[in-house]
C-alpha cells in the first residue's frame, strides 16, 4: 500500500464515521417502532443548519453546537412523532413500514422546501479558525477537525450504548424493541417509549448534522444524500444493530473513497449501490449481524 492509498483510506474512515452516526438514529427508530423515516437525512440537514446558525450569529464552535443541535432535533422529532407517526402505531407491521415510508417521503419534500424558504438554496459552511489544520503522519495528512468529529461520533455512540444498557429508560426502549406486547404487560408505558425513541433517533440525526457541518457544505438539498447513505449502511450492518451500523458506516466510507480513486469520482456512488444489491441477494441480514 502506497501512501496515496492510505490517504484515501483515512479520508474514507473519517467520512464513514459520519455515515455510521447518521445511520444509527434511523436504525434505532426502525428497531423500536418498525417505522422507516425516510426524512432522516432532512433531520441531519436541520442539525447542520443549527450549527451554521449558531456559528454565524455568535461564532459558536460547531463542536459546542452539537449540544444544542441534539436537544433541538429531539424536540423536532418528538413533535413529528406526535403529529404524524403516532397515528401509525396500531397498524400491522407491514402497514406501519409502508405508511411510515410514504409519510417520510412527503415529509422530506416539506422539510427541504421549508429549508429553501428559510435559508435559500445556497451551500453554507462553518469556518472556525482551526478549519485547515492537519496532523501529518509520515506521508499521510489527517484534517484535525474531521478527526475530532470522528472521535466525537464514537463518544456519542458509546454514550448511546451505555444509555440503552445501563438506565431504566434505555432498558425500557430495548424491551419495547424486543417485544412490544410483553413490554406493555410488564408496565412499560410504550407510548412514551416510542416518543422518546423517535426523539432520540432525531437527536442523533441533529448531532450528526452538526458534525457534518464541520467538514462538508450544508444546503437544503443534502437530505436525500444522507438518507441514502444511512439506508445503505443499515442494510450492510443489519437492521436495528447499533455497533454493526457504525462499523458498516466506516466500511462504506472506506470502500467509496478507495473506489472513487480506482474508477474515477463519477462512479463512486455506483459502488455503494452494487454492494447494497449484492448484500441483499447474498446476506440480507447484513454483513455485520451476528445471527
Amino acid at each position: 500500500m502506497t501512501s496515496i492509498h492510505v490517504q484515501n483510506a483515512v479520508f474514507g474512515l473519517l467520512i464513514g464515521g459520519l455515515y455510521g452516526l447518521g445511520a444509527v438514529g434511523l436504525s434505532l427508530v426502525f428497531g423500536v417502532l418498525t417505522m422507516l423515516n425516510v426524512a432522516h437525512g432532512e433531520l441531519i440537514m436541520l442539525g447542520g443548519y443549527v450549527s451554521i446558525w449558531l456559528f454565524t450569529l455568535w461564532r459558536l464552535d460547531p463542536f459546542v453546537s452539537v449540544l444544542v443541535a441534539g436537544p433541538a432535533l429531539f424536540i423536532v422529532g418528538a413533535g413529528l412523532f406526535w403529529v404524524l407517526f403516532r397515528r401509525l402505531i396500531h397498524f400491522t407491521e407491514e402497514h406501519k413500514i409502508k405508511n411510515s415510508i410514504l409519510i417520510g417521503f412527503g415529509l422530506a419534500l416539506v422539510l427541504q422546501t421549508l429549508a429553501i424558504l428559510a435559508w435559500e438554496a445556497d451551500e453554507r459552511a462553518v469556518t472556525p479558525s482551526y478549519a485547515g489544520e492537519v496532523l501529518a503522519l509520515g506521508g499521510v495528512v489527517v484534517p484535525l477537525s474531521r478527526l475530532a468529529a470522528l472521535v466525537l461520533a464514537f463518544v456519542v455512540l458509546g454514550g448511546l450504548h451505555l444509555f440503552l444498557t445501563h438506565t431504566r429508560q434505555g432498558t425500557a426502549i430495548r424491551a419495547t424493541a424486543e417485544d412490544e406486547q410483553g413490554a406493555a404487560l410488564a408496565g412499560i408505558p410504550i407510548g412514551r417509549v416510542y416518543l422518546i425513541a423517535f426523539g432520540l433517533g432525531s437527536a442523533l440525526a441533529g448531532v450528526a448534522g452538526a458534525l457534518v457541518s464541520v467538514s462538508e457544505a450544508i444546503s437544503p438539498a443534502i437530505g436525500l444524500h444522507w438518507t441514502l447513505k444511512a439506508l445503505i449502511v443499515i442494510v450492510l450492518g443489519g437492521m436495528g444493530n447499533i455497533f454493526g451500523t457504525f462499523v458498516a458506516g466506516v466500511f462504506l466510507g472506506v470502500v467509496e473513497s478507495m473506489s472513487g480513486f480506482l474508477f474515477g469520482n463519477a462512479y463512486r456512488e455506483v459502488v455503494g449501490l452494487a454492494i447494497f444489491l449484492i448484500v441483499l441477494s447474498a446476506r440480507p441480514q447484513g454483513l455485520f449481524a451476528r445471527s
Binding site: 426502525f30 422507516l36 425516510v38 404524524l84 397515528r87 407491514e94 413500514i97 409502508k98 405508511n99 415510508i101 410514504l102 409519510i103 417521503f105 412527503g106 415529509l107 419534500l109 416539506v110 422546501t113 421549508l114 429553501i116 424558504l117 436525500l224 444524500h225 438518507t227 441514502l228 439506508l231 445503505i232 442494510v235 437492521m239 469520482n265 463519477a266 462512479y267 456512488e269 455506483v270 455503494g272 449501490l273 447494497f276 444489491l277 441483499l280 441477494s281 440480507p284
Partner: protein, 306 residues
C-alpha cells in the same frame, strides 16, 4: 357500483377518438402542451400504480426508470436511430434495470424494496449528472422540424398503454394473484400464488412503462440536463397523483393527473417554491386521512345516491 361499469366501453372509445382528433382541429401550442402534459402524467402515475397500487409495493425510485427511458431514447434518437427503435431501447433498458433491482429486493419482506428503489434512483441521478454534465439541446435540424402533434400522439399512446395494462391488472388471473399478494402474502402463497413472481413481473411491467413514458419526455423536451429526468420530483409527482386520484384504482391516475395539473398551474403561477410545500403537506394528509383518494370519494357519493 364501480366506475368502469358506469362508463361503458362505447363511451371510452368515443373519448379516445376525441383525444385523438384534438390535434386535427387545433394547432394551439398551449392547448396541445396542456394535453401532452396530462397524458404524460397519466402514464407516469399509472405506471407507478401498476406495482404500487395493484401490487402494494412502494417504489420510491420511479424516477430512475423514467430517467433511464428518457436518457437512452434521446441519446439514440439524436444519434439517428429511428424513433420507434429508440423508444423500444429505452423501454427495454428501464425494464432491465427493474429486473436487476427487483430480483434481490422483492424476495425480502420489510422495507428492502423501498430502500432499494430509492437508492437506485438517487445513485443513477448522481451518476447521470457526473457522466453527462452538459445540457442536452435539440440540434437546429431537429428544431426546424419540431411539431407538437407527434409528441401529443406518443403521449396518448403511452397513456392508453398504461391504462390498458392497469385494466388488465384489475381483471385477469395475474391481477387477482397480485391483489391477493398485496392483501396478505402468506395467505396468497398458501393458496398457490407465487408471490415473488407476481411482484417481479408487475415491477418489470411498471418500470418498462415508466421507461416508455420517459422516452416520450426525452423526445418532447427541447432542452434539459440529463440529470433532470432522474429528479426525485418525478417519483413524488407519480405518488401524489396516484394518491390524489386513488391508489390501486384504474381511474385514480387520470383523475389525479387532471386535478394535480390544474392545482399546480393555479399555485405555481404566484407561489413558486411554496407549491411544492403545499403538495408535500397535501400528500401526507391524503396518506394519513384519505387513503382512498378522489375515486373513493366518488364511490361514497355514488353509494349515498347523489
Amino acid at each position: 357500483m364501480t366506475v368502469p361499469r358506469l362508463v361503458p366501453p362505447a363511451l371510452i372509445a368515443c373519448g379516445v377518438v376525441v383525444l385523438g382528433a384534438v390535434p386535427l382541429f387545433t394547432s394551439s401550442r398551449s392547448l396541445l402542451t396542456w394535453g401532452f402534459l396530462i397524458l404524460l402524467y397519466i402514464a407516469l402515475a399509472q405506471s407507478w400504480n401498476l406495482l404500487g397500487g395493484f401490487g402494494g409495493q412502494v417504489n420510491l425510485g420511479h424516477a430512475a426508470f423514467f430517467g433511464l427511458g428518457a436518457l437512452v431514447t434521446r441519446m439514440l434518437w439524436l444519434k439517428g436511430v429511428p424513433l420507434v427503435l429508440a423508444l423500444l431501447a429505452g423501454t427495454a433498458g428501464a425494464s432491465l434495470a427493474g429486473l436487476i433491482v427487483g430480483a434481490p429486493s422483492l424476495r425480502l419482506h420489510g422495507p428492502y424494496f423501498a430502500i432499494g428503489t430509492l437508492a437506485v434512483a438517487e445513485i443513477l441521478r448522481i451518476t447521470a449528472g457526473n457522466v453527462f454534465p452538459e445540457v442536452s439541446t435539440l440540434p437546429a435540424r431537429a428544431l426546424a422540424g419540431y411539431h407538437l402533434a407527434p409528441r401529443y400522439y406518443l403521449a396518448l399512446g403511452a397513456a392508453l398503454l398504461t391504462m390498458l395494462a392497469a385494466w388488465r391488472f384489475g381483471r385477469s388471473r395475474f391481477g387477482y394473484g397480485l391483489a391477493a399478494v398485496r392483501e396478505d402474502e402468506a395467505v396468497a402463497e398458501a393458496s398457490g400464488v407465487h408471490a415473488f413472481r407476481h411482484k417481479l413481473l408487475a415491477f418489470v411491467v411498471s418500470s418498462a412503462l415508466a421507461g416508455l413514458t420517459g422516452g416520450v419526455f426525452g423526445f418532447y423536451h427541447v432542452s434539459f440536463y440529463p440529470q433532470f429526468a432522474f429528479s426525485p420530483l418525478w417519483t413524488f409527482d407519480a405518488l401524489l397523483i396516484t394518491f390524489l386520484g386513488g391508489v390501486g384504482a384504474l381511474w385514480g391516475p387520470p383523475l389525479g393527473a387532471a386535478f394535480f395539473l390544474m392545482l399546480r398551474e393555479a399555485l405555481a403561477f404566484r407561489l413558486l417554491e411554496v407549491h411544492v410545500l403545499i403538495f408535500g403537506i397535501l400528500f401526507i394528509i391524503i396518506v394519513l386521512a384519505f387513503p382512498g383518494g378522489l375515486v373513493e370519494g366518488w364511490r361514497t357519493l355514488a353509494r349515498r345516491g347523489y
